[in-house]
């Protein structure tokens, strides 16, 4: 794509941002049971309706980052770690991952499989196509793919977070107090990894 075509597409995305975001949000929350989706779409108070409002905000931030993405970003930044460590676009990937964090962090504790948790990202392709009509080339879809990869990354990080909390909570809360007091010396693997029944 020529630079001015890119500028043109980005301008189109900006102009239609509200419409696209509304559809994208609806697509994301339609992954919940219907009754839930209705309530999530209803209240605009971010404290009464955290999932709805955090999802909306996170999608908006991600969308803004998609517009900011440059053509130079490519799959290699994700697949080749050595490459990505030194590549200046790594910053861009982090930016996308950070903007996805709030929505993914929620979905990581809601019993979604990994694919269900990130599927909403792909819906953006069809939505943008339906709003803007024919796109000049594949570059936009390609950007969405990069976002999807970032979403998988973040989902994995959140799940690791959860596993770690699960594995160490009892130890950190109860056993560390005993250890400081010198009342226990060593713990078995079982005690460390078991549920916090002690």
């Amino acid at each position: 794509m020529m630079p001015n075509q890119l500028i043109d597409l980005n301008r189109q995305l900006e102009l239609n941002k509200e419409k696209i975001l509304t559809l994208w949000f609806e697509a994301a929350i339609s992954s919940y049971p219907e009754d839930t989706a209705r309530l999530l779409g209803k209240s605009k108070n971010r404290f009464d309706n955290p999932v709805g409002n955090i999802t909306r905000q996170s999608l908006e931030d991600t969308f803004d980052n998609i517009i900011r993405m440059s053509l130079a970003e490519n799959y290699k930044d994700y697949t080749n770690s050595k490459h990505s460590q030194t590549n200046k676009e790594h910053v861009g990937q982090n930016r996308v991952e950070n903007s996805l964090d709030p929505v993914i962090r929620i979905r990581a504790v809601q019993n979604f499989s990994a694919s269900q948790a990130v599927a909403f990202v792909f819906e953006l392709k069809a939505i943008v196509k339906s709003v803007l009509g024919k796109l000049p080339d594949e570059s936009f879809n390609y950007r969405v793919d990069l976002v999807a990869l970032a979403a998988f990354n973040r989902f994995m990080k959140c799940r690791e977070n959860i596993f770690l909390l699960k594995a160490t909570e009892a130890k950190r809360r109860v056993h560390s107090a005993f250890e400081r007091a010198g009342l226990v010396t060593e713990l078995t693997e079982d005690e460390l990894l078991g549920s916090s029944k002690s």
Partner: protein
Amino acid sequence: MSDELKPDALLDRIDYTPAAGSWMDSTVQIMPGMYCYAAKAESVETLGLPNARTWNPLEDDWKLPENWQEIIHNAIKERLEKFRTFKVFMDICVRCGACADKCHFFLGTGDPKNMPVLRAELLRSVYRNDFTKAAQILKMIPGGEKLSGGRPMTLDVLKEWWYYFFQCTECRRCSVFCPYGIDTAEITIMAREIFNLLGLNIDWIATPVSNCYKTGNHLGIQPHAFKDMLEFFAEDIEEITGVNVEPQFNKKGADILFITPSGDVFADPGTYTCQGYLILFKYLKDKYGLDVTWSTYASEGGNFGFFTSHETMKRLNSKMYAEARRLGVKWILGGECGHMWRVIHQYMDTMNGPADFLEEPVNPITGTKFENAKSTKMVHITEFTADLIKHGKLELDKSRNANRIMTFHDSCNTSRGMGLLEEPRYVIQNVCDNFFEMPPNTIREQTFCCGSGSGLNAGENIELRMAGGLPRANAVKYVHEKFGVNTLGTICAIDRAALSTLMEYWVPEVQVYGIHELVGNALILPGEKERETDLRLEPLPGMEDEDE
């Protein structure tokens, strides 16, 4: 998929009428991360509760007694007669939906059966089927069962009950929004009583209850270890302040018996709150001669019996009073705990009270009568400390908490359960200069639960806990970003443990503190040396560079 949900469709009202939709026919899928492990046979046996055996919620066969349906039917019948509220709550819900999006578990998990109205309907549908005339008549015509909103008690229904009544923390937030005051927590309490008749408790409740019954506290810590732990705290405090706080144990004829949840003694960060109590008692002893004793027998203020059955709650509660009688104290002072206070405030008097052998609590230092504790004879330490501060009886150095930028989480039980709203805030503001409230729809009577209350603070259901705690964490995150809040204060032992993990997942920059930890930092003990660290052995504000 996306074009099915137009914005106006989103605004549509959901139909909460029981016969609508197919929710009643669905079979429940018990998901990992959302349920707690089954009670160990051994613990159920210790308590003498029925059907002790090894079983697994994920297996088809729950090894129920043969006549389980009859047991449930009779249990509901008995409770309808015994508890008027239960009968009323079964009958009067108009399914207006006002409670639907008020439950933190619904908000966090997105599972419609966590809407309080549907949670209650799980049981109500069986009530309707078994106990109402309309249903009896409608049952005779084909399809009539559906019309009445009733359904027969099947194994699938029981499993659904079990799954969802262990996804309710009995926090009562929903009741605040119900025009009829229907308290879904009470329905959950009944359901859990029924589970216990079938041997269907979870282990995170049953084993602590059994421990408490045997050794006096939830963790099953023996009296000597309890004493060791407090003495170890005293050593730490001496290192920090130069003063030996000398805790007293099982002292007959002391003025006051102090009882706190064992989490304060054995689990971080409650242990620092515990050190705060010790400092306070030493101060009151030196300055005013107040004689406070700990008990190694009544070593648990919490009462997981409350999450088991009324009868079990009563048994565990009675030991605190038995110990107060044995020691001959005037009254009982209780530590920072949540459900312990709901038990004292709402149940103790009818269960084991009135505790006539104790005196009506009066603060001997200020002369204040604790009117609300007149009958139970047990005073919340936040109220006690607030009273001391109000009368200028404590010498406090706020600057020692200057690095704490505070917000306060109202525990469900102390706020909605007993109306203790101002005292903790008053104490915080007297020991620390930086205090910022979370938004009004997330605090005081409308506070969001930590997501781990009522015995659900296990490890295996961590996804449920993190999802259920999201509305709370979301409000903390807001004040963290807006005001730089780095400390979440709380007056509940379960909160101190549960919110710490919750913060690590959602707002890792925020640490959890008990209020008396802050009191312990600020209180100037007679004869103390210049402190360099706080109770966590971290440098005090302004002392950060001294050891370099």
